[in-house]
């Protein structure tokens, strides 16, 4: 309204201004420009703050519920704490140094300390990344990605890890895996950030490589190093409440709109495109998993439907703002089918205990998404990358850029290498400083809730 009034005033003033000085006209135009910018900031900031909150909701309660329903009753609180504690620890770590190490301009592998303890991060935008929203909004939005990432990994070692070891590992993981990989793909001067001076372009819209490949591969390393739960696979370890998992999965689906559509960093058409692409991905993921399950197991299960939707979402994340919306359905279908195969067939063949399938869903989904983005990324949807002559650069194979699949795979391989080496080192640090990674056998059989926290999730007699 303010804008309309201003424009009306400007038009009414025009004949007058002919007689007046040129300076007055310029002053009016400058005023108008400020008003337009303020209006855009207002709209973009409203959406980005909402998106940040949506991504936090994915960790708690989304992921906390999704995971806690999949464990046995005695571990329900401990499992929820695995997610929730990241909301406390990683939040502070990110504000202290994490944000700066990822988004500060440093070398191609890691950022700098220029924004340490939020120095210089205020309401003025950081024009390198998001010119229309306050720097603080950008910082807090990216924080939520750093929070959910180590929480995703916890699915691999659920029901047996020591609490202090989990904390040491997760902090070490942030420094050794997340901060460098996120800087390389998204940070200024990062090796894979074609927009800000990177050498090799890797298109990762919302974290397919940064979040899902790193966490999924790290999950596999954790499952192998920490070892299976006592009694696995002979003792029954059924999910204790798929109702909780269902609720969590639905919250993840909704929160993912903040994750993917928010990665447009503005309330614009690209955000709408990413929103729809994401939604189609989740829907096709659920169907893909169910179809595979019906064929292999004879029945379409509720757990299959929600697992498929999460797999579809993890898969579509990388391409969400680079591909045309219907390609999202291809991502989802591929994610649903292949992740089912990894989780239900391959895992049981190899016998590793990735308890809640963080590797099978996020690692595999992330790799599929990275690859497909090399095929489907198109400047029809995202024309931010320009050639020297100012035209939009061809992105994926559909734009005729056949080299991009290889670039995407290089990005994936580097992320995998960081995840394997970084996770292993972080685990060893945790093992030495905490006197082991696992609960002892008696504590494990008692359950994390009583052994670690001295509480029970369900006091039915109380």
């Amino acid at each position: 309204m303010k804008l309309v009034r201003l424009m009306a005033a400007a038009c009414a003033a025009l004949p007058l201004l002919n007689a007046q000085s040129q300076a007055a006209l310029e002053a009016e135009i400058a005023k108008l420009k400020t008003a337009v910018a303020a209006a855009q900031t207002s709209g973009d900031n409203a959406w980005m703050l909402t998106a940040a909150a949506l991504v936090l909701m994915m960790t708690g309660p989304g992921l906390a519920l999704f995971y806690c329903g999949l464990v046995r009753r005695k571990n329900v609180l401990g499992t929820m704490m695995h997610s929730f504690i990241m909301m406390a620890v990683i939040t502070l770590l990110w504000a202290a140094v994490g944000y700066s190490l990822v988004f500060g301009s440093g070398n191609p592998v890691i950022g700098s300390f220029e924004f340490a303890f939020l120095k210089g991060v205020g309401s003025a935008p950081n024009t390198d990344y998001a010119p229309t929203i306050p720097h603080l909004t950008f910082m807090v939005y990216q924080m939520m990605f750093a929070v959910i990432s180590p929480a995703l990994i916890t699915g691999a070692y659920a029901e047996r890890v020591k609490f202090n070891a989990l904390l040491v590992y997760s902090i070490g993981w942030a420094f050794l895996v997340y901060f460098p990989v996120a800087h390389m793909v998204w940070g200024k001067g990062g090796y894979f950030n074609a927009y800000l001076g990177g050498a090799i372009p890797v298109f990762d819209f919302a974290g397919g490589t940064v979040v899902h490949i790193t966490t999924g591969i790290s999950a596999l390393v954790c499952a192998l190093v920490i070892g299976p739960r006592n009694g696995y696979p002979n003792e029954p370890m059924k999910p204790h409440s798929l109702v909780l998992s269902f609720t969590g999965a639905c919250l993840l689906w909704v929160g993912w709109f903040g994750f993917n559509a928010g990665s447009a960093l503005a309330a614009n058409g690209l955000a709408s495109s990413a929103f729809v692409t994401t939604h189609l991905g989740s829907a096709a993921g659920a169907l893909g998993w169910l179809i595979a399950e019906k064929i292999k197991m004879g029945r379409p299960s509720a757990l299959g439907a929600i697992s498929g939707s999460v797999a579809g979402l993890a898969t579509v994340t990388q391409g969400a703002g680079f591909v045309s919306p219907f390609a999202g359905a291809v991502y989802g279908l591929a994610g649903g089918l292949i992740c089912f195969y990894m989780v239900a067939i391959v895992k049981n063949k190899f016998g590793y205990d990735d308890s809640l399938d963080a590797f099978g869903v996020h690692g595999i989904g992330g790799i599929i998404g990275a690859t497909l983005t090399g095929v489907f990324a198109t400047n029809v949807v995202n024309d931010a990358l320009k050639l020297a002559n100012g035209q939009a650069a061809p992105l994926g194979l559909v734009d005729g850029n056949s080299a991009q699949i290889g670039n995407q795979l290089i990005g994936a391989v580097v992320a995998i290498a960081f995840a394997v080496i970084g996770s292993y080192i972080a685990l060893m640090i945790a093992k030495i400083t905490c006197g082991g990674l696992r609960l002892d056998a008696r504590e494990e059989s008692q359950g994390m809730d009583l052994a670690i926290h001295g509480e029970e999730g369900y006091n039915l007699e109380a």
């Binding site: 696979p233 029954p236 059924k238 999910p239 399950e293 292999k296 197991m297 029945r299 299960s301 757990l303 299959g304 697992s307 089912f340 989780v343 239900a344 067939i345 895992k347 049981n348 399938d357």
Partner: protein, 124 residues
């Protein structure tokens, strides 16, 4: 502090324990009420007899579930009524399919009403 006239006299009582399908509980309870049995204890239990359990599949992993939910009814009746009670339970709990459950009958030593020390038949 047991009153003289309530001192236990041997009397024939039976304890009847019936394990039935949970969904038959209301029918059995109503049928027992109709023949004047108004005291019983009901417990949710798990177990299996000749009926095998079922298989559940979570993300491709199969779980054999052997112990299936049942309901256990316990009641004590005068011996002369026991056949009538057993007949009523069998009639109302039967579906004719495997898994209908079992009835166990015991001779009972004594019964005491805590409120007023009544014993034997009088306590039922």
């Amino acid at each position: 502090m047991v009153k003289k006239d309530t001192i236990w006299k041997p009397s024939a009582m039976k304890k009847i324990e019936a394990i039935i399908q949970p969904f038959k509980l209301n029918e059995v309870k109503d049928a027992l009420k109709d023949i004047g049995i108004d005291g019983m204890t009901v417990t949710e239990v798990r177990g299996h007899g000749r009926q095998k359990g079922h298989t559940e599949v979570y993300r491709g992993r199969e779980y054999q579930v052997d112990l299936i939910p049942k309901v256990k009814l316990e009641m004590v009746v005068a011996s002369e009524r026991s056949e009538e009670v057993i007949g009523t339970i069998v009639k109302s709990a039967k579906t004719g399919k495997i898994g209908d459950g079992k009835i166990f009958v015991y001779d009972l030593g004594d019964a005491i009403r805590i409120r007023n020390d009544e014993r034997g038949d009088a306590a039922l």
